[in-house]
């Protein structure tokens, strides 16, 4: 498929999936909580367009877009959010705690970074050629575990890309209240090179990510990619201190509009119809699926049962 069209489709599926999600929550059909990435879709689409399907990814609480751009099925993610047995992790993890192929998420800010760094070390040791990617937000710059990881990744020249999605807010906290000094400086202090873009244009992000990933893959050690972006929705549901004017203003950065302008009307409409129908189908199918039963397996001393080979 044409690169421009493919990027658009990825972003569109993320957008429509998450809009649907919010609607289901509002209608009381979903419980718990969720964090959507509406407005930030260019990050996921751009980055996963330049990675290898075998690369190892650790995403965070705002991970639906990453999962879908990675290649995850909307149906299984919908099922997971509904707590169904057919969900990505059988309804156990929900929005923030999933795993599929080489994609992982966890809901602890910062804690995923050393884990991802260890994954990079493993891939380096195994000489698989895979790289690791880990996603953090501006607010996560507050967590000490991040810096411990940057130090070790740099010392050991590990193949990892630290992606910082700066959407200017951590929950309700603006970056000015949460982040002192300089964002690139945080990585540079450890000798980690920085690619930085203030953009929601997926092509710009694709090209920056391509360069950054290229450096990591060619053995250049850890790299960071800082993307300054905008979150259009609330942090999770309803927790948004921003003024309505501001929410309108940032809509000018809508990655779908910016990039959509590069496509024919026909392509756009076709993509739109496809996205809507595939997501409809995903939610419909998932909602008919059964709930999981509880299999209580008390961890036994199952020594030597490893199914994991290098």
């Amino acid at each position: 498929m044409d690169n421009n069209l493919a990027l658009f489709k990825t972003m569109l599926v993320i957008r429509r999936f998450e809009e649907r999600l919010l609607a289901e929550f509002s209608a009381g059909k979903l419980a718990g909580t969720t964090h959507v990435s509406i407005g930030q879709e260019a990050d996921a689409a751009g980055i996963f367009s330049v990675t290898d399907p075998e690369d190892v990814v650790f995403s965070n609480h705002r991970g639906h877009g990453h999962f879908l751009a990675y290649g995850g099925e909307p149906y299984r993610l919908a099922a997971e959010l509904m707590g169904k047995a057919t969900g990505v992790v059988g309804g156990r993890g929900g929005s923030q705690h999933i795993h599929w192929r080489n994609f992982y998420t966890n809901g602890i800010q910062g804690g995923i970074v050393p884990v991802a760094t260890g994954m990079a070390l493993a891939e380096k040791i195994k000489a698989t050629g895979k790289i690791a990617l880990v996603f953090i937000g501006d607010g996560t710059l507050g967590e000490g575990a991040l810096y411990e990881s940057l130090n070790m990744a740099a010392l050991w020249k590990l193949p990892i890309l630290f992606v910082l999605e700066n959407n200017r807010f951590a929950q309700t906290t603006p970056v000015e209240k949460g982040v002192a000094g300089s964002m690139p400086g945080r990585f540079a202090a450890f000798g980690i090179p920085v690619w930085e873009r203030d953009s929601t244009d997926v092509l710009e992000i694709q090209s920056a990510a391509g360069e950054a990933v290229g450096v990591v893959r060619s053995g250049g050690g850890p790299v960071s990619l800082i993307i300054h972006t905008h979150r259009f929705s609330a942090h999770s549901k309803g927790d948004d201190p921003r003024l309505p004017e501001e929410l309108i203003r940032i809509r000018q950065f809508d990655p779908l509009i910016i990039h959509g302008a590069r496509l024919s009307k026909n392509d756009r409409e076709k993509a739109e119809a496809d996205a809507i129908s595939s997501i409809d189908e995903a939610f419909l199918r998932a909602s008919a699926d059964p709930l999981p039963g509880l299999t209580v397996e008390v961890p036994a001393s199952d020594v030597g049962r490893s199914n994991l080979e290098i």
Binding site: A31, G32, T33, E80, M82, G83, K84, G87, G91, R92, G93, G94, S95, Q96, H97, N106, G107, I108, Q109, G110, G111, G139, T140, L141, G142, E143, G144, A170, Q171, T172, T173, K177, G178, V179, D239, P241, L291, P292, L294, V296, V298
Partner: protein, 331 residues
Amino acid sequence: MPIVLERLNYALQHAMESDERVYLLGEDILDPYGGAFKVTRGLSTKFPKRVLTTPISEAAIVGMANGMALRGLRPVAEIMFGDFLTLTADQLVNHAAKFRWMYNDQVRVPVVVRAPMGGRRGYGPTHSQSLEKMFLGVPGLKVVVPNSLGDPAELLCAAIADDDPVLFIEHKLLYTCPMSVSREGELVDFQIEQTQGAYPAFTLRPANTPRLTIACYGYNFELVRSAALELMMEQEIFVEIVLFSQLSPFDLEPLFLSLERTGKLLTVEEGTRSLGWGAEVSAEAVERLAGIKVRRVAALDLPIANGKNLEDAILPGLQDIVTAALELAAR
């Protein structure tokens, strides 16, 4: 009909009004948001200089609060979800709890760390736990838990006035519980005794001879008293309830008194069963009163699932309490 959340919010306001040394710090605690669970709502408007919203730095939040406390302030730190107390474990165990004793009682560390705990909101494995058990039995650290019977406001004010570090655990479902005093008639079948002291324990004594004692704390009191009423109405089994506000250090005198009457102990908690609060309560009770019968109700030893049906299967519910009480009564 005030709810627990309002009482906690009032306590913070009252403490700040009456003691200028009280400061709040935590993530996203400024108005209009007022904190993830709204316990701090309105306070940054009233006391703009004394409510400090922090970066996402749980270890340093508690660490800084420790430093403030050592230097004469009365910080109250909020950890957004109790699950993240793991990140503060070093500051709680190796700093806050130790300073007073290891500095030969030359200092006090009047810090309060508040944390919402508990499940049943569909928040999944890292946002639903009841991890307080990790911090029980840490020398020098108090663990205090409000409930709807005693006044949460008084309890929190006492914690803030305490010269020693207090970990203050708030169950998410407790926030919206109305105060018991305002729920007229509900407890009419019990005579209520209360211990002296800042963090009182309550003994609820039924009109008829009790067949067993149920020990509990915090939100689980809501379930336990429903279970007690059900047992009374449907089975004519009367139970005594001992409700603790101070979990650690363990001070179980009122429980022992009750057990002398009943000889049977059921502990109820939402954390996982193995080495939970109920373990120390049982062990201590048995050591003190040989021959009593004990049983524990707690969560299964599993992480907490996101999906509601799994979460319900993992966490202990009303029926688990009733069933366990019946079994114990029958022994």
